[in-house]
């Protein structure tokens, strides 16, 4: 890649090394060119929000970062994405290991049909932890960090699916945190849950960001403004065309003085 768009300038004032570095990313679903020319740095110890109208490729981009798109036949990636300097699409890279380091939370809470305890212990067991005392500690720790421990500590044997939607979502967060990921990708994590749980999720994001880099896709402008340090605005200008990254910078700047007219239009609710 030769030219790096102007997006980088807004970073100057920020501290922290880039955790993810994306350069000239193109993404295809078969013949459909979904993303083009995405260049962005996601800094460690920060929360980055992805905003934009429905269908502009936010989820698609997020799923490039943990190679979940590999599971969809016919998809293709061009360009370069590095995690802590290592090319995640490089030869010999194991997507399974990448996904352990880059956890993901989905819009619909998706706990496994097993007990609360087994849900959280799933990842550690997968990666070879089998000692009960060790697992107990990991599970408790993860549930505390996911802001759920107080609500479930006496019902650990109960099915994860018996919890409320908001609790299920925090259970999924605990399940991911139990494997100590470096990055947490959250795809509209709050759009299907109750307001109390939304509050708890936003609180835990603030607490987690000192140890985990968080990227959140959200449709809620207020939420993006509340929780994120940096914001990226994506837009598919015309139906059937590839979506682009329009503007990326500190959240405060994006929301108060966007440089691009299209960002302003979106934020002030003129489309999308």
């Amino acid at each position: 890649m030769t030219s790096v768009p102007a997006v980088a300038t807004a970073h100057e004032a920020l501290t922290g090394n880039p955790r993810f570095s994306v350069r000239g990313l193109e993404f295809y679903y078969g013949d459909f060119h979904a993303l083009t020319g995405i260049t962005i740095d996601v800094r460690e110890n920060s929360v980055t929000a992805f905003i934009g109208p429905s269908g502009c490729g936010k989820s698609t981009f997020l799923r490039c970062l943990n190679r979940m798109n590999d599971l969809i036949p016919g998809t293709r990636v061009e360009g370069k994405i590095t995690l802590d300097g290592a090319d995640i699409y490089g030869p010999g890279v194991d997507p399974v290991d990448l996904r352990r380091r880059v956890g993901m939370i989905f819009q619909q809470p998706n706990p496994f049909p097993m007990s609360i305890y087994d849900n959280v212990a799933f990842g550690p067991r997968l990666h070879g932890v089998s000692k009960k005392s060790e697992l107990d500690e990991i599970v408790e720790n993860a549930l505390v960090r996911a802001n759920l421990w107080k609500e479930v500590k006496d019902i650990m044997g109960r099915g994860g699916l018996t919890l409320s939607g908001g609790q299920q979502q925090r259970l999924c967060i605990a399940r991911v945190l139990a494997v100590q990921p470096d990055v947490l990708l959250m795809d509209e994590p709050c759009s299907a849950i109750d307001p109390t749980s939304v509050q708890k999720v936003e609180d835990l994001m603030a607490e987690l960001k000192s140890s985990v880099t968080i990227i959140i896709v959200t449709h809620n402008m207020q939420q993006a403004a509340r929780v994120s340090d940096e914001t990226a605005f994506f837009l598919q200008e015309r139906q059937g065309e590839a979506a682009e990254l329009i503007e990326f910078g500190r959240t405060a700047e994006i929301f108060t003085s966007p440089r691009d007219r299209r960002t302003e239009d979106y934020i002030t609710g003129r489309f999308g």
Binding site: N66, M68, L71, P73, V96, D97, L98, R99, R100, G103, M104, F106, Q108, N110, P111, F112, P113, M114, F122, G123, L126, H127, G159, L161, C172, R175, V176, V179
Partner: protein, 309 residues
């Protein structure tokens, strides 16, 4: 002309309600159809009831002769000596059914996992209909296949002629694969897609996703599938008759001839009379009760499933 509500003034409107009345012809047609469907349902239930009553009526005298204990637990079935103990037949059914499940269920579940989790859509489009077609092959054809292909191999492995428990189990295994495979595949496909994604996103491999998440999640559906396969194995007659050797004796080894509840009924029915005939109807009652038990089990399981989700 239209009134202010946009209604055409010419349309007849029943007073007050503003809704059209159902015409008499429509009413009669509806009533007739309702009764036709009711009749269908009644006939289905009556059919089952009649069969049950008939078989029960013809079979119940076994309680007096040879007596319930001697009938259920008697170790010898011999028309010549007037001995009608069904224990060897029931154990025969048990042996070939368990054998069929041990061989067939893993194969079928493996096929289902392949179809639902591994095969590309193109391969699935070929394999799935092939498996389904297996279910439509007449059992006498399976019997021939068993006779010509399986029996010689069994003879090689066990010594003897190859007529016996092993051949019967193998052929039944092949026959229950489509039932178990298609139902298991359905169960796997109906697992909420979110948890499959969640598992991969947690860094699970395909194999870990299958055996740690998907198979447990589809467990009840799979047990269901196995029970239905079992029902098929217990009820299957023709193919078994052709390869089992048909000796009503206790299990003496994989190569030894064996008879099952159904195979004994079909072999004896053509010439039996008197107590012998009554005993065969008694056997049919037992078969009836086994299948009803299995159906009840399936229903109990699906209720459990509904309650869990």
């Amino acid at each position: 002309m239209t009134d202010p509500h946009g209604r055409d003034e010419a349309t007849p409107v029943s007073a007050g309600s503003g809704l059209k009345m159902m015409s008499r012809a429509t009413y009669l047609k509806e009533a007739l159809l309702k009764n036709v469907f009711l009749l269908c349902a009644v006939m289905a239930v009556a059919g089952v009831a009649l069969i049950f009553l008939f078989v029960g009526y013809r079979g119940w005298p076994v309680i007096q002769n040879p007596g319930l204990g001697a009938f259920l637990f008697g170790a010898e079935w011999s028309a010549t000596y007037g001995k009608f103990g069904i224990a060897p037949l029931v154990t025969g059914t048990l042996v070939v059914t368990i054998g069929a499940l041990l061989l067939g269920a893993p194969l079928a579940i493996g096929t289902a996992v392949f179809l639902s989790e591994i095969a590309t859509p193109g391969i699935r489009r070929i394999v799935r209909p092939a498996v389904e077609m297996l279910a439509g092959v007449p059992s006498v054809v399976f019997g021939f296949f068993g006779l010509v292909i399986i029996r010689p191999i069994a003879a090689e492995m066990t010594g003897g002629m190859g007529f016996g428990a092993l051949s019967a189990s193998v052929i039944l295994a092949v026959m229950i694969v489509p039932t178990i495979a298609t139902l298991t595949e359905d169960a796997l496909r109906s697992v909420v897609p979110g948890i499959r994604e969640a598992s991969y996103a947690m860094g699970a491999t395909t194999w870990q996703t299958i055996y740690k998440v998907l198979l447990p999640a589809a467990k009840i559906g799979i047990i269901d599938a196995i029970i239905l396969g079992m029902g098929r194995a217990i009820g299957e007659t023709m193919a078994v008759v052709m390869v089992a050797g048909n000796a009503p004796q206790f299990f003496k080894g994989l190569g030894a001839p064996i008879a099952t509840v159904t195979s004994q009924i079909v072999i004896d029915m053509s010439y039996a009379s008197g107590d012998h005939r009554t005993a065969l109807f008694g056997l049919a009652i037992i078969l009836f009760m086994i299948s009803m038990g299995l159906v009840a089990l399936v229903r109990a399981l699906s209720r459990l499933n509904a309650k869990r989700s």
